[in-house]
């Protein structure tokens, strides 16, 4: 085994799965040889991909049997189409039938515009499938640190997970920077201001406000260790959990809703020097976050 650090951000979907699971434990479902490609892209003269941009299957992580999915952010921005979505829905339904935990490596801009209706339905089906499997006590662990981030319907699905693991590079939101700027103007959000984008939607901010639960370095091994820990956490979803999370979110909007920038929120959380956070190394930040962050109630 190589000691060279593998960047999660740079890795492909298949490389991420290989980095997460125990060697030779992965069995793919509906693999590329099945050629279950998008029935829509050809209409637009766009090339298909044999796995439709998502790899799903069964594996073990540190000996624990899991079902696992990874989106390929470089194909169509990792966006959800009909087949792509159906593969994840099917995996989650299998998880319910088997009572087996699920790991999802997100890397998505949201719904694929060329098959938007099918993609939107897929998002709804996936969210329902996650709720149903979580009510059975199954964990759904989301990993976010890819180049496409986790946007649109992907952001909604991530919000349904039991635990989210994020790196600094991982961005989580529903509406993306360019869409906000297009609709609300550059004064509202300058999508070309990369520092603004990352401190508003990036992993550090999401960790501090309780939108993500575990912060890791951009290192595939760190994601694997965090996923193993997340799979050992208690799995509980009931009405009380949801009510507590709703109350937390109401408190959060009351507390931070009028603040204009993420650094103002970090200051309000008690961080003395919020401007130092973006340049902070992962381990230093993780220590700081443990002290000051809001914790989600595992319902998000």
């Amino acid at each position: 085994m190589s000691n060279i650090r593998q960047s999660w951000y740079e890795a492909s979907a298949r490389e991420r799965i290989a980095a997460l699971v125990d060697p030779r434990s992965f069995a793919e479902f509906v693999g590329p040889e099945c050629r279950e490609t998008s029935p829509h892209l050809g209409i637009f003269d766009l090339p298909a991909q044999f796995d439709d941009g998502i790899v799903v299957g069964a594996a073990t992580v540190d000996g624990t049997p899991v079902l696992i999915a990874a989106q390929e952010g470089r194909f169509m921005g990792g966006a959800f189409g009909e087949v792509h979505g159906a593969k994840l829905t099917g995996l989650l339904r299998a998880a319910k039938a088997l009572g087996r935990d699920v790991v999802i490596a997100f890397d998505t801009g949201g719904v694929r515009l060329q098959e938007a209706n099918a993609g939107e339905i897929a998002i709804a089906e996936i969210m329902r499938a996650i709720a149903e499997v979580r009510l059975d006590g199954v964990r759904v662990v989301g990993l976010i640190g890819g180049r496409a981030g986790c946007y649109g319907g992907g952001g909604l699905i991530a919000g349904c997970c039991s635990t989210l693991i994020v790196s600094e590079q991982g961005r989580i939101s529903v509406t993306g920077p360019e869409v906000i700027e297009t609709n609300k103007g550059v004064e509202e959000f300058d999508s070309r201001d990369r520092a603004l984008v990352w401190r508003t939607m990036g992993g550090k901010h999401r960790t501090l406000i309780g939108g993500a639960d575990m912060f890791v370095d951009d290192d595939a091994a760190a994601f694997r260790i965090a996923a193993t820990a997340a799979l050992a956490r208690p799995a509980k979803l009931d009405a009380a959990t949801l009510a507590a999370e709703q109350a937390r979110l109401e408190r959060r909007i009351a507390r931070f809703g009028d603040l204009g920038d993420a650094t103002d929120i970090w200051h309000a959380l008690g961080v003395d020097d919020p401007k130092a956070i973006p340049d902070m190394p992962a381990d230093t930040f993780a220590t700081l976050a443990a002290q000051y962050r809001e914790s989600a109630d595992d319902a998000r």
């Binding site: 492909s12 060697p23 590329p32 040889e33 991909q49 194909f75």
Partner: protein, 105 residues
């Protein structure tokens, strides 16, 4: 979408026992290559799906070069092309043949 088929003589049979190998991704300037075992050990069948129309001659040259230089006999190769340059295509084909020769990871 333009679909191109090549079925050409490949003197050197591919090694290894893997059933399938997949390399690359369908992104701008990139492509995915799915390599599987075919029927005849001395033939290589390649199917290309590309949105860049009118480059049959170029594909022909790249494929002939590939089969001449690599152990491609007995392989069935399917390509989804995202507008890759010929050097990228050659690289992915070489990676695909190399991967199917390797033991299962």
């Amino acid at each position: 979408m333009e679909i191109l088929h090549f079925d050409i003589a490949a003197p050197v049979p591919a090694g290894g026992t893997r059933k399938m190998a997949l390399v690359g991704v369908v992104a701008s300037g990139n492509l995915e290559v799915l390599v599987e075992r075919g029927d005849a050990a001395d033939r290589c069948a390649i199917e290309i799906s590309t949105a860049a129309h009118g480059f049959r001659d170029l594909w022909d040259a790249v494929v002939a070069d590939f089969v001449g230089r690599r152990a491609a006999g007995g392989l069935r190769i399917a390509i989804n092309d995202g507008g890759a340059r010929p050097d990228t295509v050659s690289l992915r084909l070489a990676q695909g043949v190399r991967m199917i020769e390797e033991p299962e990871a």
